[in-house]
């Protein structure tokens, strides 16, 4: 997602959220739509479907100080059953970003 310079985060850094989902594929669209609507720069997203449609998403965004609010908002999406902040680096995401080999 390209962003105008004045929309760049004030505090550069990364935050990673892990979302447990009821329907992983539906959640991808809802989560990305929410990130766009709230103007979060999406750095990486991994969708890991599980049996029966559930699964998890791992989302990396630029940390501009609003991430705790984002976690609350994501957790309230009907397709998301929980959201928690994770420590960086997370192997899945770091690999997507080309930083370290996937575990």
């Amino acid at each position: 997602m390209s962003m105008p310079p004045d929309a760049m985060p004030a505090r550069p850094g990364r935050a990673v959220l892990e979302l447990a989902t009821r329907d992983a594929l539906a959640a991808v669209r809802h989560v990305t739509a929410l990130l766009v609507r709230r103007a979060y720069p999406l750095l990486a997203l991994a969708c890991l479907p599980a049996a029966g449609g559930s699964g998890r998403l791992v989302v990396a965004v630029a940390d501009d100080g609003r991430v705790p609010r984002l976690a609350v908002e994501l957790a309230h999406l009907p397709e998301v059953s929980s959201a928690r902040l994770e420590e960086w680096p997370l192997p899945d995401l770091a690999a997507l970003l080309g930083e370290v080999p996937a575990a």
Binding site: R29, H30, V36, R69, V72, H76, P78
Partner: protein, 561 residues
């Protein structure tokens, strides 16, 4: 074991939800659903445009507080519904929107009347579904109602491929209707913190929005205000929470709010926000909104907390339950200095709109109609000057009687919402306050109104322009008016008569007051036209980007035009 098509599952589930009326327009992709609806004890209201259908359903939902249903076909039908969906999201109105979709095998092929309804509605709906198997409807339909009504209400979209509607399913039993989740209550520890802050405050103020109007007991609000010796301000969506003459009610805040209310905000030291979301129209410049106040924010939607204003204490819960829990924790204490300050603001900054006694002025006709139709009447407004004038002077005595497009600000809302309100409460007088610009945005629903013969009085404040746009151009754009003036002026009474409505043109009435009373007393729908000066502005006005206490007031304003 029951066996049914997808369409029959939907229609029967709606009936089991207690739905007795749906609005909409049929088309190729939802004909099976219309057939199934017709087989249930459900009335189908045929709107003349899907946006009209959405707003009729919104009118019903806003009056009843329960989810209502609108139906559109695929492609353009669903596209026409989008504004009503976004409007319902902005104002937290529970809707279930059923859209037809091309058959599953055609999805993604750019088929006739195919658009990605699911993708289009993700950002504007509370939730949405694309149903891929008829069997899923047994879960999805009750869930859609549960989600629409739970917590902070909102619209849920269910996109229904045509072949899902015709697919036969064998199943164990009909599902239980979807019911709203129990309202949330805040954590006791947070309540204690909030109560301590309130108890210490010397200049507290209650700021109540649509969430308070929807779920709080007005007596509990008044009791808390009494305990704190605090004034109560409401947003546009909170109108009616307290009657206008209630001693604690200081009026509406915001861009066209009461001067005393807007000034009081600047000096409070504690702001208790109840079911309000710090919308920019209410706060003005957010950085200068209650600059010295600690904020206690009650909202059922925790994603509203800290969004536009950082709260010292954020209470995630239903406004009614939270206030009831908070009230016994807050000691009653007079605050004589603050009370004297508020009394002084009331005295020095009264709201005195011009022409209140003149039935041929915009404020005068609103007060005359309000007096004639009585306190139980429902008023709907369009968006713009008429909306703000009605908000300023319509005597809202209880919540749920003043229906307006607050968040999205949708012109064209007023007429169809009034039809919905009249359907929801048969026999209750309904007044729709619209401008000539707004009426023309959904004028086709005059046909629906005539067909239903509902007691809706449509007041057209006809100034030949987009009045609030023109006002902003006059105030802030150097008095240049590009694109806001209508050169062609429809004959609105003749137009109404062409649709089959009675009409009154006050311009030609020999005794306007008497003619107005006669029109209001007549059964059925009537259009009433009042000519309004395009240069009659709405005061006060907080300029965009200014603080609320930097209002433009009529008495000290040199007109830009």
């Amino acid at each position: 074991m029951p066996q049914a098509t997808g369409a029959r599952i939907i229609a029967h589930c709606l009936a089991r939800q207690g739905i007795t009326t749906v609005t909409g327009i049929p088309g190729g992709a939802n004909l099976p659903l219309f057939d199934a609806l017709a087989a249930e004890p459900i009335r189908i209201i045929l709107a003349r445009h899907e946006q009209g259908a959405g707003f009729i359903s919104q009118g019903m939902a806003r009056v009843t507080g329960r989810p209502q249903v609108c139906v559109a076909t695929s492609g353009p039908g669903a596209m026409n519904l989008l504004t009503a969906i976004a409007d319902a999201k902005a104002d937290s109105v529970p809707l279930v929107c059923l859209t037809g979709q091309v058959a599953r095998g055609l999805i993604g092929t750019d088929a006739f009347q195919e658009v990605d309804v699911y993708g289009l509605t993700i950002p504007i709906a509370k939730h949405n579904y694309l149903v891929r198997r008829a069997a899923d409807l047994l879960r999805v339909i009750p869930e859609a109602f549960r989600i629409a009504a739970s917590g902070r209400p909102g619209p849920v979209v269910v996109d229904l491929p045509r072949d899902v509607q015709t697919e036969e399913v064998l199943f164990e039993a009909w599902p239980e209707p979807g019911r709203p989740d129990l309202p949330a209550a805040p954590e006791p520890a947070e309540l204690t913190k909030a109560a301590a802050l309130l108890a210490r405050a010397e200049r507290p103020l209650l700021y109540c929005g649509g969430g308070a109007a929807r779920s709080a007991d007005p007596e509990a609000v008044a009791a808390l205000a009494d305990a704190l010796d605090a004034p109560v301000l409401t947003t546009l969506m909170g109108l009616g929470l307290l009657p206008p003459d209630h001693p604690r009610n200081l009026g509406m805040l915001g861009m066209h709010g009461a001067p005393a209310a807007n000034i009081a905000l600047a000096s409070c030291d504690l702001l208790l926000a109840v079911g309000a979301r710090f919308d920019d129209r209410a706060t003005g410049d957010a950085k200068r909104f209650c600059p010295d106040a600690a904020v206690v924010h009650i909202d059922i939607d925790p994603t509203e907390h800290h969004k536009n204003r950082r709260a010292r204490v954020a209470l995630a819960g239903d406004a009614g339950r939270t206030l009831e829990a908070l009230l016994p924790l807050v000691p009653a204490r007079p605050r004589p200095d603050w009370a004297a300050h508020i009394a002084g603001l009331r005295r020095d900054h009264p709201s005195t709109p011009p022409g209140l006694d003149d039935v041929k002025s915009p404020y005068g006709i609103l007060t005359a109609i309000a007096a004639a139709v009585g306190p139980e009447a429902i008023v709907t407004t369009d968006v713009g000057q008429g909306q703000m004038r009605a908000a300023q002077v319509w005597p809202c005595r209880r919540p749920g009687r003043f229906l307006t497009s607050g968040g999205l600000g949708t012109m064209g809302f007023g007429l169809p919402a009034a039809i919905g309100a009249a359907l929801a409460e048969p026999g209750t007088p309904v007044v729709s306050v619209v401008g000539d610009g707004g009426l023309l945005m959904n004028v086709q629903e005059l046909a629906t109104l005539a067909e239903l013969d509902l007691p809706v009085k449509v007041l057209v404040l006809d100034n030949g322009c987009l009045g609030l746009v023109r006002q902003q151009q006059a105030f802030f754009c150097g008095g240049r008016f590009p694109g806001s003036t209508f050169d062609a002026r429809p004959d609105f009474p003749a137009l109404a008569e062409a649709f089959g409505l009675a009409a009154l043109d006050l311009e030609h009435a020999r005794d306007p007051r008497d003619a107005l009373q006669t029109a209001l007393a007549a059964p059925g729908p009537t259009l009433i036209r009042l000519v309004v000066d395009p240069d009659a502005y709405v005061y006060p006005m907080v300029p965009p980007g200014a603080a609320n206490n930097e209002m433009i007031l009529e008495e000290n304003h040199v007109h830009a035009a």
